[in-house]
């Protein structure tokens, strides 16, 4: 065990990996702090760059961006009441009133400490759970994998967004686009329109950059056109007690932080729910547990601790289904899955067995990234506060160019028009309220879904009785059917209320 830990840290403690962790955390915090951008945008743009890194460095870089983004999102939420990232929306409830009271720096420090605490705890759960879970998953055949993918898609589609129909349509659109390229069994072409570049399918990096990053840039360019730059509240008043966060104040919130970390970890381990839901659930749990619930929303620092701990603890837990089953927990994990594939690594039950050293090196990198997140966040608060009010008319045109550059780096000249095309799809999805989360996860899971389906059909050889001989798969299929029926029933029974399925 000790030998494994030493090997993992020696693999992660290379100059390249350390530089990439620091750069990743910085980029994540920077992007997270700018309203309209998020760690997701940064990850989508960064995936192509990881082509040129070692596998450990590439994964450490992307995970660090993800971790930095959750901390950065709190900066603009607290100082400007404009969450840098969707998961930081609940942070503004108490964070901004604290900033108005001249306690912005205190709130930012609480956000940072609770965020890193929640993230670290969730990482330890990941380290403890993923190997045993992979051992169970390794006994699963293609039929069980098919059942798990169907279950994941059902859960994701029914939980994401306001409309179940739109969530499912987006997921099936992702599955459809995943069929572009050569048929995996016979090698015949599908939807390649005579373009050899499409034979390998649509590149995940171009789809990710287009739908996530460039479409968001497009939306922000239009929304923020002609808007004057926002200014934020000062970091703190002149009183020393408003500038620091005492150990007593942190200890008073420790129970809340641990509760939120448990909530975030549980939610993160389920595919699709995401850190925004975790933040709100963590916040509500803190209100319910408090002796003074009336103080929440008026500048209770426990509210900041609850939301930040919950949304950050989703980051590590999202890797549990990714590393053990090959199913991404959210969009960031789906993009990181794309980076795994770029480096010839297939996440899933066999990953621990085949690439155990790499996985443990990634775990070590996650621990280092947490420390970096804490240090960089603590000493860089003022820089990120400046980033929060970076002028939109400089930021978004530049990010637009970075998106095009990223598309070229992975897919060559073919990637440039492709990324613009997917930006149109992403923009339309946002405008019409279709979930890009289910779209991306459907797109990423599409090839695994098709492969498991084909293997199941071949193994069954036309005999439906084969499925009856796979009780675990049958139970998971039944759970999927139950989850879907329950969601449909919930929407139908609420049809008298303004809820849109």
């Amino acid at each position: 065990m000790l030998e494994t830990v030493i090997t993992a840290f020696s693999d992660a403690l290379t100059v390249q990996t350390l530089v990439l962790i620091v750069a990743g955390v910085f980029i994540g915090q920077f992007f997270g702090a700018i309203p309209g951008l998020s760690a997701l945008t940064a990850i989508a743009i960064a995936v192509p760059l990881t082509y040129y890194f070692t596998p450990v460095g590439a994964l450490a870089f992307l995970v660090s961006i993800n971790k930095g983004g959750t901390v950065g999102g709190s900066v603009s939420a607290i100082l400007m009441n404009t969450p840098g990232t969707p998961e930081a929306a609940a942070t503004a409830f108490d964070g901004h009133p604290l900033a108005k009271q001249g306690k912005g720096l205190k709130a930012l420090k609480m956000a940072l400490f609770s965020s890193v605490t929640g993230d670290t705890l969730s990482d330890f759960v990941l380290f403890a759970v993923s190997a045993p879970l992979a051992l169970i998953a390794i006994r699963m055949g293609p039929t069980e994998m098919l059942a798990v993918i169907v279950f994941a898609l059902t859960i994701i589609a029914s939980l994401v967004g306001k409309s179940m129909f739109k969530g499912l349509i987006a997921a099936f659109l992702g599955l459809l686009l995943a069929t572009v390229g050569l048929d995996p069994e016979g090698g015949t072409s599908r939807f390649i329109f005579g373009m050899p570049d499409l034979m390998d399918g649509l590149p995940i990096s171009a789809v990710g950059i287009g739908v996530l990053a460039m479409a968001e840039v497009l939306r922000q360019l239009i929304v923020l056109r002609g808007a004057a730059g926002d200014s934020h509240l000062p970091l703190s008043s002149e009183r020393p007690e408003d500038k620091r966060l005492s150990w007593a104040e942190f200890r008073a919130c420790l129970r809340t932080i641990l509760r939120s970390a448990a909530i975030g970890t549980g939610i993160g381990a389920l595919p699709g729910i995401g850190s925004s839901a975790a933040a709100f659930i963590g916040y509500n749990a803190a209100i319910r547990a408090s002796k003074h619930p009336e103080t929440f929303g008026k500048g209770n620092i426990e509210g900041v601790a609850a939301t930040e701990s919950a949304n950050s603890s989703v980051v590590g837990a999202n890797f549990i289904p990714l590393l053990s089953l090959g199913i991404p927990g959210n969009v960031a994990a789906a993009l990181i899955l794309g980076a795994f594939i770029v480096h010839g690594i297939q996440p899933g039950p066999h990953l621990m067995q085949e690439q155990g050293r790499l996985v443990y090196a990634m775990f070590a990198a996650m621990v280092i990234a947490n420390g970096t997140n804490l240090l960089l966040g603590y000493f860089g608060l003022r820089i990120f506060a400046l980033a929060a009010r970076a002028p939109a008319l400089v930021v978004f045109p530049t990010i637009g160019l970075v998106c095009l550059t990223g598309a070229f780096l992975t897919s060559g000249t073919f990637g440039l028009p492709l990324v613009v095309g997917f930006a149109v799809i992403g923009y339309l999805m946002r405008a019409l309220g279709f979930s890009f989360v289910t779209f991306i996860i459907g797109f990423v899971l599409g090839p695994s879904f098709e492969l498991s389906f084909r293997q199941t059909v071949i193994l069954a050889d036309g005999d439906l009785g084969y499925l009856v001989d796979r009780p675990i798969a049958m139970v998971i299929f039944a759970l999927s059917a139950f989850a879907l029926s329950r969601t449909i029933w919930r929407h139908v029974s609420a049809s008298g209320k303004p809820v849109t399925p």
């Binding site: 129909f165 939807f191 239009i222 808007a227 780096l409 440039l416 389906f453 209320k497």
Partner: protein, 149 residues
């Protein structure tokens, strides 16, 4: 137009599009293969079929079950126009990158978008237009040795 009618139209449109792909798109763009266990067009047909059915259900739901009958549709001609302008700028930039080179296309897109965002000071436009492409070009071409178009 209300949101209910707009979304019913979106559902119907998706359903019709899926039907067209099912009838004409898949036979034209998916090469058949008789020597495999699962036909190459099965998965596209499953996905397209599901989109078609869900689109039709969404249309019917919005028409007959949606209780919100007042919220207006999110159609703003000005926003659509602006989106088209930005997309056209990106298309021109991509063409310039592919034909002339990264620097010209990059300077064009950052400069044009800065003006689009409302910047009118010439020195600020010049700085925003020139610095990011130059920095990216220097980073990739000069520092890392990765060729850009």
């Amino acid at each position: 137009m209300t949101l209910r009618i707009f979304e019913a139209l979106v559902g119907a449109g998706l359903s019709l599009l899926a039907l067209a792909i099912w009838l004409w798109g898949i036979p034209a763009w998916v090469e058949p293969n008789d020597f495999v266990t699962v036909a190459p067009d099965l998965m596209p047909r499953v996905a397209v079929g599901a989109i078609g059915v869900l689109g039709a259900l969404m249309c019917l739901h919005r028409l007959f079950l949606e209780p919100d009958r007042t919220t207006p549709a999110p159609i703003e001609p000005a926003t659509i126009g602006l989106a088209l302008i930005v997309l056209a700028l990106f298309a021109v930039s991509v063409t310039l990158m592919l034909t002339v080179g990264f620097l010209v296309g990059g300077v064009f897109i950052t400069g044009a978008l800065t003006v689009f965002m409302g910047q009118r000071a010439w020195w600020a436009i010049l700085l925003t237009a020139v610095c990011p492409p130059l920095l990216l070009w220097g980073f990739f071409e000069v520092l890392l040795g990765i060729p850009l178009p």
